[in-house]
């Protein structure tokens, strides 16, 4: 158990402390032996800070397992492959190849970044502790109330066409909170270089379909039971310090 805490603490720090790109570039969690052997800074799948079944009934254990072990792992693997190919292309001076790889890097790298944040955004029974102090006041100022924020995020998440994410974002410059959406696996930073994600909700169908079928609004309603406000507060306080 202690060992597990050690690893999860590492994963937590990496995901939250280094900002949007840090998680991908600096992550040397478990299973990175191969990356180090190659001399590359390879991304690797962070461990979940809780069991797969711990978020029930909001999110089923089956979804959590597939989401983490299959989808996130695939993003990590493909991101590493794309980086390898990029390195080779840069070394050869193959500009068309470099440009061609950007799509795969954005998609898979974004997927890795986003999901690393997402696992920290969730906590068994996290929703029971609403945000207080700095983040709580900021939410009241910028949205009116916590209920208004939840309603806004749910509305934007439900209205998102196709696949994507809905975020509670902090603008580092203006210190204002806002609700943003990104398409596919675009990380929040694509909406603004000063945007920091406090909370993200995955509205890709793989995040809820097995349990909620096509009723995305039910998933959005229930996920607030397991949202980790503590993490969001920590990030907020760190960025506004």
């Amino acid at each position: 158990m202690a060992l597990r805490t050690l690893f999860t603490k590492k994963a937590l720090t990496r995901a939250s402390g280094l900002g949007p790109l840090g998680a991908a570039a600096g992550d040397r969690g478990l299973g990175s032996g191969l990356g180090q052997a190659r001399g590359l800074t390879a991304a690797s799948l962070p461990d979940l800070p809780y069991d797969y079944g711990a978020l029930e009934p909001a999110i089923s254990g089956e979804i959590m397992r597939l989401h983490h072990q299959r989808h996130h792992q695939a993003y990590v693997t493909n991101y590493n492959n794309a980086l390898e190919q990029l390195e080779a292309a840069v070394a050869k001076g193959d500009a068309p190849a470099v440009v061609r790889l950007q799509g795969a890097i954005k998609f898979n790298g974004g997927g890795h970044i986003n999901h690393s944040i997402f696992w920290n955004n969730l906590k068994p029974e996290g929703g029971g502790e609403p945000p207080h102090s700095a983040l709580g006041w900021a939410i009241d100022t910028d949205f009116g109330s916590l209920e208004a924020l939840v309603q806004k995020m749910n509305a934007e998440g439900a209205a998102l066409q196709g696949s994507g994410w809905v975020w509670l974002a902090l603008d580092k410059g203006s210190k204002k909170l806002s609700v943003e959406t990104t398409a596919n696996q675009d990380p929040l930073v694509t909406k603004g270089l000063h945007m920091v994600p406090l909370l993200g909700i995955d509205v890709w169908e793989h995040a809820y379909y097995l349990q909620y079928k096509n009723v995305r609004p039910d998933y959005l309603k229930n996920i607030w039971d397991v949202i980790n406000w503590k993490y969001a507060s920590e990030v907020y306080e760190k960025e506004t310090a």
């Binding site: 597939l66 299959r70 799509g103 066409q161 596919n184 793989h206 097995l210």
Partner: protein
């Protein structure tokens, strides 16, 4: 409009009338005039009915389960259809075939709010008809000839189609289209609800790559889904019928039917 691309043969346009109160008079002219002046405003609506897939919902087992079709067609496709009709109740868009509606609402890349629903209704109709029980295997005749001409061999085409499906990032569709200007077949990948009709191309076969299309049956094993589609579901019968019509359009252009 004369023969539009008849690729979704079942979306019917029905015009329900809401009759207001009529006040009749004994005089013939007044009578005639007043029939067309209802007390309540007559509302003419455009309405597109939800079509059924051309097979029972369990007919595609084990490659696509009945449960998937119940949800995909019964909830999702039906949802798009209901949303579209709700939007059209307050919209000036009226009198269009489905294809015309899609092109109009696409608005040259600046889509109107009805576009997404209209396109998804059409896309799903087209998709159900792109599949059949005991499908897959090889095309024959003209379709096979054209595929061999444009892709080198059927196996090249198959590999390219599968690869295109695997390379799709996010939600979308993979299409085999006949390009009207280039007069050749091409594999095209579109995101979300985008439909090649808006570019004037003629779709021959489509594959739904949204996760809801396969997640219940295959979870994240996309490769198995796509390969099963190619080997067991794809309807070359539909493709042949569509190709025949498409060729007529490409070779002869829009038919000129004289106005009476």
């Amino acid at each position: 409009m004369a023969m539009a691309l008849p690729l979704a043969y079942a979306s019917s346009v029905v015009h329900p009338f809401e009759a207001g109160r009529l006040s009749f008079s004994t005089k013939a002219t007044k009578h005639k005039k007043q029939i067309y002046q209802f007390r309540n405003v007559t509302k003419v609506l455009a309405y597109y009915g939800l079509t059924n897939p051309p097979y029972k919902l369990d007919a595609l087992e084990p490659y696509m389960s009945r449960r998937t079709l119940e949800l995909h067609w019964g909830n999702i496709h039906r949802g798009y259809s209901d949303s579209l009709n709700k939007q059209l109740a307050n919209s000036p868009l009226y009198g269009c075939t489905m294809e015309e509606l899609i092109k109009t609402t696409f608005n040259n890349g600046n889509p109107l709010p009805e576009y997404n629903n209209a396109a998804e209704v059409w896309n799903h109709d087209f998709f159900w008809e792109s599949m059949q029980p005991n499908g897959g295997r090889l095309p024959w005749g003209g379709v096979l000839d054209q595929i061999e001409k444009d892709f080198g061999s059927f196996s090249n085409f198959r590999d390219e189609f599968v690869h295109s499906a695997m390379m799709l990032f996010g939600s979308g569709w993979v299409w085999l289209v006949l390009k009207t200007n280039e007069r050749r077949l091409l594999i095209v990948r579109t995101s979300n609800a985008l439909c090649p009709l808006v570019w004037g191309d003629i779709p021959i076969i489509s594959l739904d790559m949204w996760e809801h299309a396969y997640y219940l049956d295959y979870k994240d094993d996309v490769s198995k889904y796509v390969n099963n589609f190619m080997d067991h579901l794809i309807s070359w019968h539909s493709a042949t019928t569509r190709m025949v019509r498409a060729e007529a359009f490409v070779n002869l252009g829009e038919p000129k039917i004289p106005v009476a």
